[in-house]
Symmetry: C2
Subunit: 170 residues, 2 copies
DNA sequence: CATTGCATGTAACGCGTTACATGATTAT
DNA sequence: ATAATCATGTAACGCGTTACATGCAATG
């Protein structure tokens, strides 16, 4: 149930329409909590029903600008401080590793080297968005830098691990 | 669609019943691809319908022993070598980081320190299962060690990052 | 004989993905 | 005019979670 809090979190920084949020997701939470247009509109409806957001204004083309309510802010704070992060997170990349004996050693090594390459690409991609995040002065950018640092470290770890793992295949 | 391949992968090492697989998941793939009893039985039915596994034997208490077929092995190999690992993986732990400005700095730091502690616990838990994985000589154990190493490195990364992140909150 | 373990299944619910469907406004 | 952008919604499908439901066999 985190999409709900992702939406609340973005609205806590300022009111926005579903359409605005869609774009905001793409430039901020895309790597952490991706969401589709479909989901967003559905969630906004539910949040409004629950009284956590309200339609603050209506504009042209049926545009609805949503604003977070006090209850919404309270729920967001509660989620941040009281709910503990979950998830035995699934990784199909790692799942394959368990079954690498099913293919010849060269193919197993090739798989791991490919993972190293993919990690390197992700690292490069994250490095490339760094300047944008670095230049922002808003709350989201400031915290986004901390999240980005996680992504950078993770990509490096994956690259190094995959390289190491390839050498383990005898 | 990876549960299907997780099941195929385990059956590739030897025939087993749904009940056996349940326990196997718990001791091998629990941290990489958890599955519930419900899911397992459903998937086995679908795999049998698709001809990727067969009921090799029936035992007492309605026990059905499933065996992987040649098509099943082919599909497993195809998945390992040809399908590229997916997933922009979601993290509610990281999502919270974006919204840390919504709570007072001390609470934000407390959150991150708690994450460091949790990572340390996970690290300890993984270290504790190491001896078991280390002693196994089967394929699953051998590859499991490589997967475990990933988990160990990841936990350390998370601990270090969270500690660093807490210091970033001014 | 009672408990534990073996063993299989179904149903309800929520979330995420993809595709479909529609229409108003602005810019060229 | 026409294309691009703004803007909102619905429907179908699959996967994962939780809870429910049932019953046989071995062990003490």
């Amino acid at each position: 149930m985190s999409l709900r809090h992702a939406v609340l979190g973005l609205l806590a920084e300022g009111s926005a329409s579903g359409y605005d949020l869609m774009k905001l997701f793409d430039v901020s939470l895309a790597n952490t909590w991706p969401a589709t247009q479909s989901q967003l509109y559905g969630e906004l409806g539910k949040l409004a029903d629950a009284g956590l957001v309200t339609v603050a204004a209506e504009g042209p083309r049926g545009r609805k600008e949503y604003a977070i309510t006090e209850e919404g802010r309270a729920e967001l704070r509660r989620w941040i401080t009281e709910v503990e992060p979950s998830r035995p997170h699934r990784s199909d990349m790692l799942l394959r590793v368990f079954f690498l004996s099913q293919v010849p050693p060269e193919q197993a090594r090739a798989y791991l080297r490919a993972q190293a390459d993919l990690a390197a690409e992700r690292l490069a991609r994250l490095e490339s968005i760094r300047p944008f995040v670095e230049s922002g002065t808003d709350n989201l950018s400031r915290n986004g830098r901390i999240a980005l640092e996680y992504g950078l470290r993770l990509s490096r770890l994956q690259q190094e691990w995959a390289t190491w793992a390839a050498d383990q295949i005898k």
